[in-house]
Amino acid sequence: MLTILLFLPILSLILVLILPNSNNNLFKYINLTTTILQVLIVIGLYFAFDNNLAGFNSIEGFQFVEKVSWIGLQLGSLGSLQIDYFLGVDGISFTLVILTTMVMLIAAISSWNIQLKPKSYFALLLLLNSAIIGVFCALDFFLFYIFYELMLLPLFFLIGIWGGSKREYASIKFFLYTLFGSVFMLIVIIGLYFSVKDPISGAHTFNMLHMMNPDNYLPGSLLSVGSESGILFGAPTRLIAFAVLFLGFAIKVPVVPLHTWLPDAHVEAPTPISIILAGLLLKVGAYGIIRICYGIFPDGAIYFSYWIGLLGVISIIYGAFNALAATDFKRLIAYSSVSHMGFVLLGLASLTVEGINGAIFQLFSHGILASMLFFIVGVIYDRVGDRQVANFRGLMTQMPRYSFFVIIAFFASLGLPGFSAFIAELFVLIGAFTSQTTNGLVPHWMAVAGAFGILIGATYFLWTLQRMFFGQARFLGAETWAKQLIDLNTNEKLVLYPLALLTLLLGIFPNLLFDIGNTTINKMVDSTMQIGAQQLEQLKEIISNR
């Protein structure tokens, strides 16, 4: 089933490429149909998914697994190169697959008015769709890397061609930033490949699950625990590898100070791409940290937890302050994303069941809310081609229905109970707060600082409401704008209603989402704490023996 989910967009892509350019209107229907079919498949999978199986690092817990040998090369003395087409989901990745299909559907609807080169646009969108699904489903590290890199290509062009005035600067910045991360990842992948062997065939492998099991490491290899060879520049190679991988993913999340590509990319990107960027791309970064950094290097997860938590807290507060200073509505929302993604990091750093559940919940919740917020910005930008906060006033009088959704989205994002973000942030904070007394990884003050970030969050959202929506209606473009600023059309309502209902639904019945991931997350916390602590102990021993 995952293969169908993955290759459906590719099939549509071929269809789009075959069809002549004259059928301009057809492409968006093809894209829409594809995303709807994907949502239907995922709904089917949702009912087939067994919540009680704990995946994370054991193949038994993964569901809908497909494994086919893909590339097999005999490399003489180096053994055989084995890359598998290996897909499967557990509670964590399935949550994100669900999110992907939903956000893609939203992006499909909001791409309705794309006029410029629709054929290439939708072709790239479909390619992106496939790549993101692939990232979340891949269990072979090499396959993961291919999908991960494949995401970059369409995004680069989607921003660079369909973007705003400074689109080239933004897309190149985005590309360089993320490429920087990928290069390091490739080095670690190769290092891992030569350190890990398949327990059955004995050959080197890219299988992520094998990499998570310390027994599969060749004794004396670069990334194995407990040997002298695992030391590089006086530090354990494993910890260096963790840090390097983390850096690569942190750029995607993004984590302050590696975040400045995000506001630029968002401001320049067209609305649907902003939605995908915030709704999914950032989640890929976080997913990488969870699956790869935490999964393969649990020792690093424990060792660096304080710094990860610190980066999370800095992102929360720094992002919030920057949002407060933003004068462009879209930039404000972009910085709020930085702030909200900080909670994911804080939750992960706590390494408690509550904190990580909260982090995963935040990924989903932010996926919905960021889509909603960027769509909201798109609504006024579509109408008047401007989104400076200062140029609008009293939109509530002008567009009451629109303002209704704005209030929902804003209050949901600032953590009002009843909406999904509250649950996520609550559990992240509980996790962060209990961490000091249960596992001693994240100190109390970080949780308090995170709560302070929520306060600043309330400030910028409410200030925006006050400035743009309340008061007497008054616009920079005066009468012209007043005519253009008509209330929501059916298409827009079609996007906003489901999103608003979804965030409300998850805020009231969080178990709908918690149930999917909880078993896996329990396993993740247990094994990370157990294996990680053990490995860290060994590493310390080796270092002290030197």
């Binding site: 302050f321 069941v353 509550e354 949780a447 309330a458 409410l462 409401l465 918690f514």
Partner: protein
């Protein structure tokens, strides 16, 4: 019929969900009358159910109905109900007063367009407030606590086109959010300490007296102080008067602001002595501070806003003194008379709308006067409510205010002389209270009308009856048969144990009331006959109080400024440090690329070119020999042979 817990659970659910359903319906309705009807009927249903629940559980065993909402890791959050006497009093107050205020609103907001959202928001408020008081654990309480703040935000901003309202609701929400987050942190600390959020567990824990628990207590009370507009969070409440007066009456006088006191009462068993003392001090200080600010206000609603802050201060102080029962009792009586004061003020403002057309402020008391005979019903209900606030015998305010004062003196008596500062502060507050409310009464109702006009009218049908019903509840008889003894009232009996007042039971009422007739004469002379002026309006002293101690300005220039500076700093860091670094890295890359490019072109390509050029040079040289003339070839051939011969000859090859 004996009701089981299951039945009661259904009653409670019906009570809290019926306003929620109303909200959902009203949001999508167009009809004014239908939305009003739905909202009012659902409140009536809630009220009826509250009475049912009250009669079932009053003075019975505490009922707890549990059901798990979220269970993750070691955290289990209930969505359950905790029903004891405190809850049932709150339920009755909230539903009853909401119902009355809603009826009042029908006429009060009759001229407003887009009234549906008003009904939706009031219903949301009722839902949230009821959820707050029935919650059986602190996190559920927190959920509703924030929702209450949200509905308050929406209602303060009801007239969102007014700039002031848009600023006021933001201010209210943010100040409350500071408190909310303190409360949340307090709840987390409590969870770490005792591994539970449940109220039933809290009662079993020892208050202890360590730093952790004191810190926890300070965080917990932060939430309550913000919601109840206590110092230093009090500034949002006067601004919140930008909302419709019916909202001020319901939310910012009778119910929501009392939620802070309710929370304190709930948590008081786990407060350490230090925390309790802090509460007492903050309460007493807020009480006297706000009462003195009220003295100098000219806006008719702001006087009442400061009065509310002051009265809430007395309740907070009572909790700090360990007398939750008297705090709750005062909360109940205050809810009625303060709500009634606001409603009658609303009726006055409603009648004076023509002042607005003349460019005058219809809320400024200097534009009023002489309204006594024009609006007799409003006059009488106002008088009853004001008398109850002053606390004259036979009125409910007398019972509850004296209860608090007596408790305060008893508390101080068992401690040092210094502790008497608190009861004396409270006593002075009651004098100030009498002063400002008599002042308002004199300015509004007595004397000559400043702007005689015809629009002033007495309360209409829908406004009249709710006020008359509320007026009834300002008398002692509703609470107990003995007009002089608070301990004989059913509320006090239903709550915790009460102590006898002893000597204070006589002296405190005498001391607090002895000044009232004198104050009345002074006020009449000052404000009606204008025979003398105590302090000039222009004096700095007066202006200090008129501007409420300049707290708004202080906060504006410190916290608000700080936040704004910090945000500018982070924006600068982003733009001028991080991005500069990124751009530098990029340009460094470009620079490297250029070097390589240069190397490529000059060195590598240069070498290639050089080689190419040499080869070509040799080629050119060689080509010269082959110019296509046979005689040249022969010439070259002969030369070559000649050279070969010479070489051979001389070098002997």
């Amino acid at each position: 019929m004996e009701l089981t817990n299951l039945h009661i659970a259904w009653l409670v659910k019906g009570m809290i969900y019926s306003p929620l359903i109303s909200m959902a319906l009203v949001l999508f309705l167009k009809s004014r009358r239908l939305s009003a009807a739905i909202s009012i009927v659902t409140s009536a249903i809630s009220f009826a159910l509250a009475i049912c629940i009250f009669s079932t559980i009053w003075n019975k065993e505490i009922i707890e109905i549990r059901s798990v909402w979220i269970a993750i890791g070691s955290v289990s959050i209930d969505f359950g109900f905790w029903l004891d006497n405190t809850t049932s009093i709150m339920m009755l107050l909230i539903t009853g007063i909401t119902f009355l205020v809603q009826i009042y609103s029908v006429d009060y907001l009759a001229n407003e367009g887009q009234i549906n959202r008003y009904w939706a928001h009031i219903s949301l408020f009722l839902f949230a407030m009821l959820g707050l008081v029935v919650a059986n654990n602190l996190l559920m309480l927190y959920v509703f606590w924030e929702l209450v703040g949200f509905s308050s935000y929406l209602l303060i901003g009801f007239w969102y086109k007014r700039e002031k309202a848009a600023i006021a609701n933001k201010k209210a929400f943010i100040i409350n959010r500071i408190g909310d987050l303190m409360l949340l942190i307090g709840i987390f600390m409590l969870f770490i300490q005792w591994k539970t959020f449940d109220l039933n567990q809290l009662l079993t824990f020892d208050a202890g007296n360590n730093a952790w628990q004191t810190t926890m207590g300070i965080f917990l009370i932060g939430g309550a102080l913000a919601k109840s507009a206590q110092f230093p969070f009090h500034t949002w409440l006067p601004s919140a008067m930008e909302g419709p007066t019916s909202v001020s009456a319901l939310i910012h006088a009778a119910t929501m602001v009392a939620a802070g006191v309710y929370l304190l009462v709930r948590l008081s068993p786990i407060f350490t002595p230090v925390v309790l003392l802090i509460l007492a001090i903050i309460g007493a200080f807020t009480a006297i501070m706000a009462a003195s600010f009220a003295l100098a206000q000219m806006d008719i609603k702001r006087v009442l806003a400061y009065s509310t802050i002051s009265q809430l201060g007395l309740m907070v102080m009572a909790v700090g003194l360990g007398s939750s029962a008297s705090a709750l009792f005062h909360l109940s009586t205050h809810a009625f008379f303060k709500c009634l004061l606001f409603l009658s003020v609303g009726a006055i403002i409603h009648g004076l709308y023509s002042l607005k057309d003349k460019g005058l402020d219809e809320q400024d008391m200097r534009n009023m006067g002489g309204l006594k005979l024009k609006i007799p019903i409003v006059f009488w209900v106002y008088l009853i409510a004001a008398t109850s606030l002053i606390g004259l015998p036979l009125f409910s305010g007398f019972l509850s205010k004296e209860a608090i004062l007596i408790e305060a003196f008893l508390w101080a008596e068992s401690r040092t002389v210094w502790h008497f500062i608190i009861p004396i502060t409270a006593l002075i507050t009651t004098w100030l209270t009498a002063f400002y409310i008599i002042r308002q009464f004199a300015l509004v109702f007595l004397g000559e009308a400043k702007h005689p006009n015809n629009t002033v009218h007495d309360a209409s049908k829908y406004m009249k009856w709710p006020m008359i019903i509320l007026a009834f509840f300002c008398f002692f008889i509703f609470f107990g048969f003995n007009p002089f003894n608070a301990n004989s009232t059913w509320i006090m009996n239903g709550l915790l144990t009460v102590q006898e007042g002893g000597i204070w039971a006589i002296w405190v009422p005498v001391a607090s009331l002895i000044l009232v007739p004198i104050l009345f004469i002074i006020c009449k002379a000052m404000y009606v006959n204008k025979s003398f002026v105590l302090i000039s309006v222009d004096s700095r002293f007066y202006q200090f109080f008129a501007n409420a101690g300049y707290f708004d300005e202080l906060y504006e220039h410190t916290f608000a400024k700080l936040i704004s500076i910090l945000s500018k700093i982070s924006a600068t860091i982003d733009k001028h440090i991080i991005d500069v670094l990124v751009d530098f890295t990029a340009s460094f890359g470009l620079f490297l690329a250029k070097i390589f490019d240069w190397l490529d072109r000059k060195i590598i390509d240069g070498t290639v070119y050089f080689v190419v050029a040499r080869v070509r040079g040799i080629g050119d040289f060689a080509r010269k020999f082959q110019d296509g003339f046979v005689q040249h070839y022969i010439g070259w051939a002969v030369t070559g042979i000649a050279l070969l011969y010479i070489f051979n000859h001389f070098f002997g090859l």
